[in-house]
Amino acid sequence: MNVAVLIKQVPETTDVKISRETNTLMREGVASIINPFDMYAIEEALRIREQHGGKVTVITMGPPQAEEALRQALALGADDAVLLSDRAFAGADTLATSYTLARAIEKLGGFDLVICGKQAMDGDTAQVGPEVAENLDLPHVTYVRRIEELSPDHMRVQRMIEEGYEVIESPIPALITVVKEINEPRMPSIKRMLRAKKAAITSWTAADLGADESRIGLTGSPTRVIRVFTPEQRRAGEILEGETVQEKVRSLVAKLKETHLV
């Protein structure tokens, strides 16, 4: 069972703080990490390999320093890593990104399963997974919280929905995106970390992929960001005072009643 995991290197955004003076993101010492949702994708791929054999290949598109994310994935136990890096890829939106990743998957000869995290922590779009599936004409299932069954040609998975979950069956090859509930990612071992430091990482450019130049990077991106701004910050409201808990609660209830919702 050969599995590809598509990962993204992102700023460690949960540490991002907003400066009160300038109203901007403060990034002092913020490290780049593997997108946290992708950690569940990597873990699931490793578990599949442990059960069914085969290989786990991690793929990322990004600047040269995204290699660091691939080394982290190798330290967790992935077998191979492929970096797609080229100035021509810069400025790609989800459509151009998914096209590029799909070409790499094809060049690698395809996989039994492609796994992505449900979305990236910086963009939060959740679009690249299904778009890669469409590019490769694979079936896809989003928000997978459990793989119930996996055989050489078939899978049965649970897909999280608003009201609970769906059970979905699909032939493989297929693409799934996974949610946090699916597993508990392991820690890298020291031995693997040392090996990962020295591991060879395949690096491909647009030319290596034989990519259609009109479909990559900014040129291949139908969307354009035209304005970026910091949202109006919510201001602290009113702390309800009172001698007793009862008084505070009554004052809150009065406020809430004004909304006519309670």
Binding site: P63, L95, D124, G164, E166, E181, L218, V225, A236, V262
Partner: protein, 405 residues
């Protein structure tokens, strides 16, 4: 390059360095330089006090490609605003009516028609509801193969309808269905899709859809355009847009179409509804959430009691979910669900940024926490500093009293 530093204007103040979410800008020899990992997001330009960073102008982009000019939206024959009428068991999701409310404004600004697309089986009544909420046309594909949502047949039917009828704009709810179907359709049509929009407007001069969405967990807002490709696709967050008013007197056309829908490879076997999830978090008007301050799983009972009295959904912080006190389906925040209720009551939640990212756009935020320095109070409309084990039951009792008389 859409982002450019005008070195003669740059003062080397480093405001851009602090603003860059990717650490992709540095000041060298007193001038800002974009590094290789720059994604051209433009965050730096917004913060530059010297106006020394330029983002490629929207008009330049709109003028560059096919379909450019004053009537970009119609030049290639694409007209009309479409709303995907997501339904389960024949009942449209509430977000559909919000899309019709917003879609009406966009269609009026463009002087084009508002249409809904209804895919399903035995969904006739829903079409009339969509018309009562403002759709001028409803395209219906009624087919047993579309009875339940499945990505492939839905994507096929939607893409074919778009190719035949050429709408300029296609809106979907940012639900688990919309966020799965939308990208599949966009990739098939090779057009742009903006996820999770919280603001939509028409640039009347260029007739383009301005799509505004949060990124970086809500720390940054971005406005996005799809200048050349059609349709301009967006998924839209729940509870942000105003719901269309219902008017039974409205008349519209129901267009029934037959599609040769191919059987899907990934097929739905069954839906399991989980009883713990009494109210859908995304659709709830009121949410009561519990955090680390609850101390243990059993204490979620007091949260549930309060929620029950006011018909609220139960949410939780990551700390409470990670501790195993409540299932992940209840988690609100960056790694859980993004919610936008009318009232959000946070009990024993400190207000970590990842939690704020998931609920910060709620209309009213109530914080109950014993630590007066808790971050949640910085965003709370109303705060009560006190022990949640006293405050929450007192609040439940007070509200129950109100409910009875």
């Amino acid at each position: 390059m859409p982002v450019r530093v005008l070195s003669d204007r740059c003062t080397g103040c480093e405001a851009c360095v602090a603003a860059c979410p990717y650490g992709a800008i540095a000041v060298k020899d007193g001038v800002a330089v974009l590094l290789e990992n720059c994604t051209h997001c433009g965050a730096c330009a917004a913060e530059c006090p010297a106006e020394a960073i330029e983002v490629e102008d929207v008009r330049a982009i709109a003028g560059a490609g096919p379909g450019a000019g004053a009537d970009a939206g119609t030049a290639s024959g694409f007209r009309g605003v479409w709303v995907f009428a997501e339904q389960r068991k024949g009942v449209p999701a509430s977000v559909v009516y919000e899309l019709l409310g917003e879609g009406r404004k966009l269609a009026d600004d463009l002087g084009e028609e508002l249409c809904a697309v209804l895919l399903g089986h035995n969904v006739g009544d829903a079409a009339n509801e969509l018309i009562a909420h403002g759709a001028e046309k409803v395209y219906v594909v009624d087919d047993p193969a579309l009875a339940d949502f499945q990505d492939e047949p839905y994507a096929q039917a939607m893409a074919e309808l778009v190719e035949e009828h050429k709408p300029s704009i296609l809106l979907l709810g940012a639900t688990t269905i919309g966020r799965s179907l939308g990208p599949r359709v966009a990739a098939r049509l090779r057009t742009g899709l903006t996820a999770d929009c919280t603001g939509l407007a028409i640039d009347k001069e260029k007739r383009l859809l301005l799509q505004t969405r949060p990124a970086f967990g809500g720390n940054i807002m971005a406005t996005i355009l799809c200048p050349d490709r059609r349709p301009q696709m967006a998924t839209v967050r729940h509870k942000v847009m105003k719901r269309a008013a219902r008017d039974e007197a409205r008349r519209g056309e129901i267009i029934r179409l037959v599609k040769d829908v191919l059987p899907p490879r990934a097929t739905l076997v069954r839906v399991v509804e989980e009883t713990q999830q009494m109210v859908n978090l995304a659709e709830a008007d009121i949410i009561v959430s519990g955090g680390r301050g609850l101390g243990k799983a059993e204490n979620f009972k007091i949260i549930e009691e309060l929620a029950q009295v006011i018909g609220a959904a139960v949410g939780a912080s990551r700390a409470a979910v990670d501790a195993g006190w409540i299932p992940y389906a209840h988690q609100v925040g960056q790694t859980g669900k993004t919610v936008c209720p009318k009232i959000y009551i946070a009990c024993g939640i400190s207000g970590a940024i990842q939690h704020l990212a998931g609920m910060g756009s709620s209309n009213i935020i109530v914080a109950i926490n014993k630590d007066p320095g808790a971050r949640i109070f910085n965003v709370a409309t109303y705060g009560i500093v006190g022990d949640l084990f006293e405050v929450v039951p007192a609040l439940t009792a007070e509200l129950r009293k109100g409910a009875c008389g």
